[in-house]
Symmetry: D2
Subunit: 303 residues, 4 copies
């Protein structure tokens, strides 16, 4: 990681006026700080800034020392797929509402950027998942996911029946709508809706959560992060499924095909302002309690 | 671990006729194999076997090279607390119905014992939890648990309000019936009933599962196994709770007291017959599917 | 209802050897009892019985005084759709494993039929749901369901966003995989997998259960059986869904279309052997407990 | 119901400054409207208003034509128990945060009262539950509940084992922390935390929700509102439980005792401002979505 962050790439959700304004402020500020600024060509067609080079996201990630993404969790996912192969750190600016991954708010943005440029930040590594969908014929297609790999039935009205293995050991025959295999980052997304637990972001683990399982005791399982999870659709059902990585369709899957999930060799390096607090974000996003302020007179235990 | 297992201690649930019979067979067989046999004094008053020394459980665990427990998961918990401080391996014989911890069935018992004595077995280490309940006055009481540490409200009809911290970082203010902090071993017990996930038995993690939480998004969290979890009851509620380790009351807890859960320095070493299969036990205990036999024509993937 | 049951129609899942054998025994026995026997033409091509007229299911239901269906819950659903418009009573024979709707086992079948022919049986009316899917253009398609009407997203990887109304009153904006609207009969099927409750079979109610809701507090709602439930997909998402009645696709639904669920004017009349016990079936199907025998020394309360 | 509401009784949570202020404004306004004002003697010791008679809650409910309660849902429960035997209508003023039962906010209070006095309001009847706890010896104690009747284990660390019957038909043997039997009003309280559904407030039903059931398929059941639910603790466990009505302990229950829940003969008559919207309250209390405004361009369906 080049700590000087001489070249900064900017990414944002196209066609969002707030994102447009935020990118303009960011670009101007970075120029003032004598940084080379790159802008994702797809980000916003009408955004034309003096001295800012536009190029496609992969080229941007290949040249940048730091990528700053502006938007919600969807934009951050997109940014994560972009930076992961290049191992460039990523900083997320939200659009007014705290995101799980974009934790700098627009009003704090300029100060936050200055802190990062000055070397004051926290580094967090988020693991990613690798999916391999291998057809019975032997052909394979690969995908990566920051959040999750989902197996979802493609035939409305029919139950999907499939089997799971953990490191080659048979786990279960499942009937239902499918399965979510999520990283700690993804544990607060689809897997949570499917009944999975929250995984601490630095836990070396993944969660395997059945979607609407036919058997009520078919509950989410948390396995080690270096585990290989295999999934097969059982022959007799002849139902088809789709394999989806972070919401992008990887391919169709039927009986005879094999889906394998493992930890990806790539990961995402997130930069946070100092004082970043994962559980504070969780409380905000999940509407937990009314905070702790004033409720406990004792301060944090162990203090 | 003394692999010769020259001295074998026997434990069993008192007053159960099937356990009595099983212990008799075991003792006779071990004598035939020229092992010194010790019997827990509390196990069964009427059981008097020639050449078998009776002594209390702690003394037994102190002298034995191997402890064999006969009974259900309750008996295995008791055996685990007994052997843990002495680091003696434990083998569990069930009473006809597969247990999570007692996976040798009576008909396979004699063969299983011979295999173990011959050095053919699998070793599995199960982590334990340490609980410290510290009163506002400074006095503290300690407990250990193989399954779980539970905080349960003591006042019927009143919601318990409490706060949690993970490694000193505030997590949440909870309202509800309490909290279960479970090891992987305990993840299939009380925590599962409270909505928690199943943790793979070798995962270095613990699950923090709220019991009937007032806030529906207050979901189970899985944290690293070396994490310190702190719990405080909030002042204004003035409600009392009980702290329970593996079903045994550790003490009463009120506002001003601090409950801390960490990984215990002790653990349990389980011996299993070769071919032990955790997921097979899980499928049996949770009434999962009808097994995989004949459902997939492809055999295990990756083979 | 013609209590004499002079004409009996037989239905069964095609191509199942056990069903074939059961139908042969049934047809022979009914002929012995001097009943006119009709056989569904699709039931089994190779089944050719002297004196048994074959005709299509609708014609069969139009002429029969009683329909006997042999198979699992899938066959019973099919039989229910068939008999409902004709208001013919339905008796279900399972294939060895108790079904929610087929509660007569093959060994008890001959005795059970004789009891019914002799007028000794219990009558149970199960309500059905009516679905109307109205396109923005005004065209509408109608369906009926014994179990449930499901709205399921058709675009893998994208959350479906939709709104619900109860008798014209706005209920909620939902994000997730879709929605199940179930009758009491269907409450133990898909809706149960989605987190819904069990509804007593005679309760005049329906359950609206979100599928993997984005918002964790978006919980199942039970409303009166005569309620009108309206569902719309919100405009901005531009996602498509499928509407499915008892597993059969009714049609595609997009923004601008309206799905309405009400109680159907048709219903299913089930005949049961005397002593029929819904909760006994529930205990068996859901693997509940080990029964009550011998656990309570007091017998049923109030006795 | 005396529609003139000549005599108005005021109830509020004692010792809350905001409640105190609200009651003062209310009393003054009602005097201006020439109503006789009664004040619950326990409500607030320091509140002394000219021309306001103080008397105990039961006497107040016996003389009032309308009771106005100021506070949260706890205060409303208390008010409900008070008014139910006298069949006096109840109007709830919240303390700034919308309550399930107190839906008039302080700023709208004076206008709301005037509307009610002028006869412009909606009437809603909420059913109540009757609990009878009958000891093995024959002695019985009775209670009523607006929300729920809960059976909760009294012995920390031990599973409670109990059996349920619905109208004399055996339902299930349960193991776990206990059971909540809730009215539609109570379906959004403890039963919801235990995994139960939301029941529409006018549904003639009750929900039976197990608390942390040992068997994962032991799910909530919704039965008709006129059903009798019986509960017994099984003999062999020898565990004790507490029976709690709306959070108030009714008594201890052990093996041999019988708990019976039925619909109460009394009910609560709630008055609401015109335009009262149950689902709006639900959306607010459960933090549902971001409302429907602007999300659907189509307006309510059927319009």
């Amino acid at each position: 990681m080049n700590d000087n962050f001489q070249t900064v790439g900017l990414l944002g959700r196209p066609g969002d006026a707030r994102v447009h304004d935020t990118l303009e402020v960011l670009a101007a500020h970075l120029a003032k700080r004598r940084r080379t600024v790159l802008l994702d060509a797809e980000t916003n067609g009408s955004l034309d800034l003096a001295g800012v080079e536009r190029l496609d996201a992969q080229a941007l990630a290949g040249r940048a020392d730091l990528v700053v993404a502006v938007g919600g969790d969807g934009t951050m996912l997109h940014a994560a797929w972009t930076v992961a192969p290049h191992d460039v750190p990523l900083l997320g600016i939200n659009r007014g509402r705290l995101g799980f991954l974009a934790d700098v708010s627009p009003p704090d943005m300029v100060h936050g950027i200055d802190e990062v440029l000055a070397g004051r930040y926290q580094v967090e590594t988020r693991s990613m998942l690798a999916a391999r969908l291998q057809a019975g014929s032997g052909e394979a297609v690969d995908g990566i996911a920051l959040n999750d790999i989902a197996l979802q039935r493609a035939d409305a009205g029919r139950m999907l029946e499939f089997e799971t293995w953990v490191d080659g050991v048979f786990v279960n025959t499942h009937g239902g709508d499918g399965l979510v295999i999520a990283s700690p980052t993804g544990s607060t997304a689809y897997a949570l809706s499917a009944g999975g637990p929250i995984l601490a972001p630095d836990l070396n683990a993944m969660v395997i959560a059945p979607i609407c399982p036919h058997t009520l005791s078919d509950r989410p399982i948390v396995v080690g992060g270096d585990t290989r999870v295999d999934v097969r659709i059982i022959e007799r059902g002849n139902t088809m499924a789709q394999v989806v990585c972070d919401g992008r369709v990887l391919g169709e899957m039927g009986p005879g095909d094999l889906l394998t999930a493992t930890k990806s060799e790539t990961h995402v390096t997130l930069l946070h302002p100092c004082g970043h607090d994962y559980y504070k974000i969780l409380r905000s996003k999940l509407h937990w309690g009314r905070g702790s302020s004033g409720r406990s007179g004792n301060g944090p235990p162990g203090s």
